[in-house]
Amino acid sequence: MLLTLFLLGLVYAVLVGVLIAAGTGAITVAVIAGALFLVQFFTSDKIALYSMGAHVVTPQEAPELHQVIDRLCVQANLPKPRVAVAQTPMPNAFAVGRSPKTATVCATSGLLALLSPGELEAVLAHELTHVQNRDVLVMTIASFFASVASFIVQMGFWFGGAFGGDNDDNGPGFIVVLLVSAVVYMVSFVLLQALSRYREFAADRGSAIITGRPSALISALYKISGNMQQVPQRDLRAASGELAAFYIFPPAVKKTVSSLFSTHPPLEARVAALQRLEAQLQGTAR
């Protein structure tokens, strides 16, 4: 999915580059870009929900889910968002919407089956914090600014060349514009991913503050990530034969490069941050 997102954005940046290089005026390009942005701004919610197969549920259809969200909204002092459920066994939850008033929170049926009530509450509080922090709006605006920056750089290259001297040779200029817009896009993509990771930490923190139970979120994260072998189910007596012999530490996963491009911080970092919060809560933090 990451590659898809990246390529989509690259196509967008290259399209603008092509439009400029093909000689359409700056105003036309700005109008086209602006129109695309507005379309994205107003319809991305519906597109996201539709693509996940999410359907809005009434309190009669999903009473426990609605109750949990009601309680969280009272605690977080938020207007109640629309509640949707996506029928898929993959456990996941997400929130869409530019503002708390127009937001929708969605949980998959896999998530509802997997988590205990406390853990579900923690995950939904994380999503509600995203709504409260207007993260969708922030990321949309940030990505818009990245597109604008790319646009300006391309304009600079095109018209800068014109003022500088001969703009006879359209060939190399065209390619340079494309390259530049691609590079600016790539840099802004990496920065946007970093921003997204920061917002995830903030949402984790928000969940801990709303529920007062950071450990519930830790346990939910482990279950969702399918990493339940982190806190094992196997009995000690069954495992003791092999373990006693070697203490090979699990190899540190080499995630240095891919971590630049991920939208979410690695599980270990999120758990460590939540454990610090729990220690502060318990008054044992040093």
């Binding site: 205990s116 406390g118 853990e119 139970r213 450990s215 519930a216 830790i218 346990s219 482990y222 072998q229 982190q230 806190v231 094992p232 189910q233 196997r234 009995d235 000690l236 007596r237 069954a238 495992a239 003791s240 373990l243 006693a244 012999a245 070697f246 203490y247 530490f249 699990p250 454990q275 729990e278 220690a279 809560l281 318990q282 044992t284 040093r286």
Partner: protein, 190 residues
């Protein structure tokens, strides 16, 4: 386990690390005073018996010794086998410190007679203010404690409360840092 041992496939079972066991005696003060956690008056040591006459006689001797010292302090000793083939030596008494001393006596006896690697773990049973059971398990081979809270249902554990307990006790107990080694003990007889 050195590099050569890994290459040549030599397996050596690790011996017990008993020195850190007594940390739970000092941690118990914190349990009682600030966390409201009390002992249920029972602790157990789990070891893997060998089917040799030598081992059986050692275990018998050790049980007699522990019984002798135990009756002074009012501790009762009983032993039972479980479905995994491990033996549980249960100590019941009112004084938590005596329980810790008794457990240590057993592990030292086994170590002294050369069967130290057979010792798996020690389990201490507690309950919180709401009378819910919780256990602290001491893994002899790692020299570290970890909490275990069984939840209702077949082989369910309440990992959230385990993380909370870990945060509550802070640095007072040497706690197992690797979560993959927080192995549960299903069907604990204490």
């Amino acid at each position: 386990m050195g590099f050569l041992d890994v290459l040549l496939g030599r397996r050596k079972l690790a011996g017990p690390a008993p020195d850190r066991l007594f940390a739970i005696s000092t941690a118990y003060v914190t349990f009682e005073t600030s966390l409201g956690i009390e002992t249920r008056g029972v602790a157990a040591i789990v070891f893997q018996p060998l089917a040799t006459a030598d081992f059986e006689s050692i275990v018998k001797e050790m049980e007699e010794v522990v019984e002798a010292t135990a009756t002074d302090s009012g501790t009762k000793v009983e032993s039972s086998d479980d479905s995994y083939g491990f033996r549980w030596l249960l100590l019941r008494g009112t004084s938590f410190d005596d329980l810790v001393v008794g457990i240590n006596a057993v592990s030292s006896a086994l170590e002294g007679s050369g069967y130290g690697e057979r010792v798996l773990c020690a389990v201490f049973a507690f309950e919180d203010q709401h009378k819910r059971p919780l256990y602290w398990i001491y893994n002899y081979k790692r020299g570290a404690f970890y909490p275990f809270v069984p939840a209702g249902g077949e082989q369910q554990r309440d990992t959230e409360r385990e993380f909370v307990l870990k945060a509550q006790i802070g640095a007072e107990l040497p706690i197992e840092q690797e979560l993959e080694r927080w192995f549960p003990l299903w069907g604990i007889p204490i």
